[in-house]
């Protein structure tokens, strides 16, 4: 409706807002820590850490790969748990829904990065971008499934409708992903022997490399937490914006009703 769209941009504010951002002291500290740890990660990952005896320089990609895949899976666990928390009547709150959405967004981005880094590393290590391994395939399916989840979040309707629908879809994904993993695993075990997991374990890590790996995990996790905090607040604002648009539209609609009498 045109009137509603206009009132979006010109929303007058009852009391002038004093808080003009989504940050708090906690997220600022977190942000600084994130930037610092990512800088140190770049330093260690690209320069300080040694090359691997068997893999050579390509091991550097693994730091990105492992860090992002950890965050991606963490994100989807958080999405599933907060979706369940929303659906459970005693803990029902739109905050859970927003956490689920924020988490899925960054999860999808990190899953894409994981697949990219994994493909690059695979090309260097095995000479091929893609292997039909259960873990790789499951990750790809998880990616597509959560792209679908985000599409469902964008379908519209009331906040509660969005929350209920997307929470159900997120829980159905929890049903789907193990089945995909199980079926691909069964398939490859019948037709092929060696899996990627076996070949990956050939990597022997010295202390610096192990430290870099841990650092990558910590740095990306910090980034994840920072993002979810901010994004959850932005989603709160977006919902509030919808509601304030509704107040204006309501007033306008009422005026129309009163005048007509």
């Amino acid at each position: 409706m045109a009137t509603t769209a206009e009132s979006q941009t010109t929303a007058p504010v009852a009391t002038a807002p004093t808080v003009l951002h989504t940050g708090t002291r906690f997220t600022r500290v977190l942000g600084v820590l994130t930037i610092a740890s990512l800088a140190v990660l770049a330093l260690f990952g690209l320069i300080i850490s040694p090359e691997d005896i068997t893999q050579g320089e390509s091991v550097r990609i693994l730091y990105i790969h492992v860090g992002t895949v950890w965050v991606a899976y963490l994100a989807f666990v958080v999405t599933a748990v907060s979706s369940a928390a929303y659906l459970w009547k005693r803990t029902r709150s739109l905050t859970w829904d927003r956490i689920a959405g924020a988490s899925a967004e960054i999860g999808v981005v990190f899953m894409a990065l994981t697949l990219l880094a994994g493909a690059l590393w695979g090309r260097l290590s095995w000479g091929t971008f893609w292997v039909w391994d259960a873990r790789v395939t499951t990750t790809a399916f998880l990616f597509i499934t959560y792209v679908g989840y985000l599409a469902v979040r964008g379908l519209g309707g009331s906040h509660q409708q969005r929350a209920r629908r997307s929470a159900v879809v997120a829980l159905l994904a929890v049903l789907e992903i193990p089945l995909v993993h199980f079926s691909v695993k069964l398939w490859r075990s019948v037709h092929q022997d060696a899996s990627v997991a076996d070949r990956t374990s050939n990597v022997t890590l010295d202390d610096t490399m192990l430290f870099t790996l841990m650092l990558a995990t910590v740095a990306f996790t910090l980034l994840y937490v920072w993002y979810v905090f901010h994004r959850q607040r932005v989603l709160t604002l977006e919902d509030a914006m919808d509601d304030s648009g509704l107040d204006l539209a309501l007033a306008e609609r009422r005026r129309e009703g009163e005048v007509a009498r």
């Binding site: 929303a11 504010v13 009852a14 009391t15 807002p17 004093t18 808080v19 003009l20 951002h21 989504t22 940050g23 708090t24 942000g31 990512l38 770049a42 990952g45 690209l46 050579g56 320089e57 390509s58 550097r60 990609i61 990105i64 790969h65 860090g67 992002t68 960054i106 981005v109 894409a112 990065l113 990219l116 880094a117 690059l120 590393w121 090309r123 260097l124 990306f220 980034l223 920072w226 993002y227 901010h230 994004r231 607040r233 932005v234 709160t236 604002l237 977006e238 509030a240 914006m241 304030s244």
Partner: protein, 44 residues
Amino acid sequence: MKDLGFILASYISAFGAAGALAWWVLRRGRTLARQLPDEDKPWT
């Protein structure tokens, strides 16, 4: 360094995506926070 292109591609994509995501969420938050009263910001 051997395979520098591949290695840089993975680092640039990861750091670039992280930076873009952070920049986007901050900007979006600022735009919206300017238009809404403080009551709508439960974190304050």
